[in-house]
């Protein structure tokens, strides 16, 4: 009998809404659980979050560990880490996965240190090998290399996983899940960290990760005027606009949250069109899973052409307007 059993996923919630990455991790978690013939559990921490339990079940969780307390409404590292530690010590999971969001990346290492186990960070691939060993794929050096990280002698085997790399299961309305209430009797005085304020930005547009088509620009776009061409192309295609670091730093447009790559967003659109982008590794890792990649650049030696399905060598001021025309004629 194995002592450590079960695949546990931290179901991050903010303001009573489940994060996408938590549901994505239930998707990959379900596959691993089935392969291992183990249970898939979600850990849900917050206040008045019971309504989310059904949703977790419908996305694949066999069981939900629920901790509810008014002090847990907003994330706080000490309280959440303590609860995770209690859950781990009592229920002894084999594998524990959290989203590599700010909150997940803040919580996971603390929990790993508390229970003395290993944690692979910001994984872009998760699987179990033939021997049942959990393996996390971790990109390094700006994405130039990929390491397979394992944790063979400590439990739970932990990983944080980047949002946007795993697929949610189709929601099965009415799928049942079992709820296990976790004791969370905190008082304010027990905790070292006090939340004094929160702020949530209003989203101006759909997050880039959700766009089916992404038009991205790099330093080669050259300036604000040309940037408008990219925006127009994206508009014609009903897509989003992304960027490499230089246009963000240069301020050619309001690109808050639009940077793609190792230190920005990861996108997986049906179509990615890169304009004036040379193709540095730290950008490519953020878009390499696009179904079709198109590159437009005046330098025929630009590395992005190697990573593209279709390339056009030329001046973007000539090409992009023609492309906009051609797309308009043949939508």
């Amino acid at each position: 009998m194995k002592e450590h059993k079960g695949i546990f996923v931290f179901a991050e919630q903010r303001g009573g809404k489940l994060s996408d990455v938590g549901l994505e991790l239930l998707g990959i978690g379900r596959k691993i659980a089935d392969k291992q013939q183990e249970e898939l559990a979600a850990v849900l921490i917050g206040h008045k979050v019971k309504p989310l339990v059904d949703e977790l079940g419908e996305y694949g969780a066999d069981r939900v560990y629920l901790a509810d307390n008014p002090l847990l409404e907003v994330y706080r590292s000490d309280a959440y880490a303590m609860l995770m530690q209690e859950i781990i010590q009592q229920y002894k999971p084999n594998i524990l996965i959290m989203g590599a969001t700010s909150i997940g990346a803040d919580l996971a290492p603390r929990v790993a240190a508390k229970v003395n186990t290993g944690l692979s960070a910001h994984c872009v691939g998760l699987d179990v090998d033939d021997k049942g060993q959990f393996v996390g794929q971790v990109p390094g050096f700006g994405g130039a290399v990929m390491a397979s990280v394992i944790c063979p002698n400590h439990y739970p085997q932990m990983a944080t996983a980047r949002p946007g790399f795993f697929e949610k299961l189709e929601r099965q309305k009415g799928r049942k899940t079992e709820v296990v209430n976790v004791d969370a009797k905190f008082k304010e005085g027990d905790l070292g960290i006090k939340v004094v304020g929160t702020f949530v930005e209003e989203l101006k547009s759909r997050p880039l990760e959700d766009a089916d088509i992404v038009v991205a620009g790099g330093y080669g776009v050259g300036g604000k005027e040309n940037w408008k061409l990219l925006e127009e192309l994206a508009e014609v295609l009903g897509g989003g606009v992304g960027a490499t670091r230089p246009p963000c730093d240069e301020g050619w447009a309001d690109l808050e949250g639009q940077m793609i790559g190792q230190s920005g967003k990861t996108v997986r659109p049906e179509l990615y069109i890169g304009v004036g982008i040379s193709g540095a590794m730290h950008h490519l890792v953020g878009m390499k899973n696009a179904k079709v990649i198109v590159a437009i650049n005046k330098d025929p030696q630009a590395p992005i052409f190697q990573a593209a399905d279709y390339g056009i060598v030329g001046d973007l001021c000539q090409i992009v307007p023609r492309l906009i025309e051609a797309m308009r004629i043949s939508p």
Binding site: D106, P109, R110, A113, V135, I150, P152, I193, G197, G314
Partner: protein, 270 residues
Amino acid sequence: MKPVNSVVCMKPVPDQRFWDKVRLDKKTKTLRRAGIPIALGPLDKMALEEALRIREARGGKVTAISMGPPGTEEILEWAIVLGADDAVLLGDPAFAGADTLATAYALAWGIKKLGGADLIFLGNESLDGSTGQVGPQVAEFLGMSHVTHVSKIELVDEDTLRARFHIEYGFIDVEVKKPVVLAVEKGINEPRCPTLWGTVWLRERKISHWSADEIGVDKTKIGLSGSPTQVSDVTTIELKRKGEILTGEPSDVARQLVQKLRAENVLPKG
């Protein structure tokens, strides 16, 4: 007001300009980075800057600490040139091959030997590994609170500070009592530039070298053998696609591309 003693944890990383020179040793599955210069990451500079500003406001001391191979002295020298009072290098072959847990454990014991700290600063994530794990783990080993993704710090009173934890599309402001570990992110400050006085200052300072024995760690918890995670395989990423170059007049290539994309079924359905 009581003076504030800060420790800044710094990581030696291979200079980003030379990353394409990092080669994979196919046999040992490790990265060969010999000959690649070591650099101080931008977030480490911001962590140091934040500590220096608090010293300027409140008095106290700033100590830089790092764990790393020979050559790591260089980033600690930078810290002194920029204004750190002291610097400590945990330099011992026994520390080599550490993952984040073993690294955090060693740093925590180094900080214990320093007599602890009111505030421990570090960059939210390193340039090379970018795990962002060491801060919370140092905090756990020292029994302190931690806040990561810190984009703003305000001292409230003797024992309390307010930190802004930057999360996706927003932030959480927290109040936390000293001692605390703060992992700072880009934009928290504009680090100062080195001055000539800094280099003079450097000549009067000595970087302390501490071995594993000197900081009294449990040797089963450091280095490769103290690391629960292992790298089982390393591969370079293959990104190559068909790379079909379309040629002709601009209007012609535009038409060709639209046809190809239509055939791939990736254009919006009109």
